[in-house]
């Protein structure tokens, strides 16, 4: 299936978000660039196409996307928030050398083993964040 403006519009409507031009373009950017971008990166990439765009709108949009569970907020360090259009359970790996944030897969059966995490009986878990740091394959081979 090809992703068109109409598809992004529909997605926004499905999530009860009014499909303005700015929001459609931001969603399109996130779908096409799964690199966990920051507000600043999104703003600078879209600015050439939307010269009237403001950072406030990017902030507002991502807040509404996150509130609607259309994106995930990543707090990899406390500098800038990053956003992930993939809201399925998965892990993140930050390479301390090149700064890339990689996704990695989590075995759902094994992660739900109730002997893996101890002491959370009677706690309601809303989100699970698995975040590793280290040196990626690419940087190791250089």
């Amino acid at each position: 299936m090809e992703l068109t403006i109409e598809n992004f519009k529909e997605t926004l409507v499905d999530y009860n978000i009014r499909p303005t031009y700015q929001r459609i373009k931001i969603l399109e950017y996130l779908e096409g660039n799964k690199t966990h971008p920051t507000v600043d990166e999104i703003y600078h990439h879209l600015y050439p196409q939307i010269p009237t765009l403001s950072k406030t709108t990017v902030y507002n949009t991502l807040r509404s996307f996150a509130d609607a569970d259309l994106v995930l907020e990543l707090h990899v360090d406390n500098s800038e928030v990053r956003f992930d259009i993939n809201t399925e359970l998965h892990g993140h790996f930050l390479c301390k050398d090149c700064g890339t944030v990689y996704d990695f897969e989590i075995n759902t059966e094994k992660i739900n083993d109730d002997q893996l995490f101890i002491g959370l009986d009677d706690f309601s878990i809303m989100s699970k964040n698995i975040f590793f740091t280290g040196i990626c394959k690419k940087c190791k081979n250089q």
Copy 2:
């Protein structure tokens, strides 16, 4: 074993950190208050005892502790960094209701199962952060 000023001094020397009065008191605070405090919390708790203390020193000290792997930096959201004197592998749980950050235990054998996290072959892992959010037992029972 009783923890005295001398013990904290020794710990700092062991970690190659010059044991100044401020650093000793900050370490003492962290050992006695395992609540993942912020810079602001540490500063305000110590200020009555050390009226000349500055926040800059608290920042500097925690940076040097973190660089020496004497404390862990926690990024639970992007508001303020929190610090954990427990550097053993363990998880954190943030209660969305009361704001408490709980520690929880991780089964070391199961977490090291190489089928749990997929796609990290040839990546060097330096730190593993497991961070859950939800509602804690206490808040659920109110």
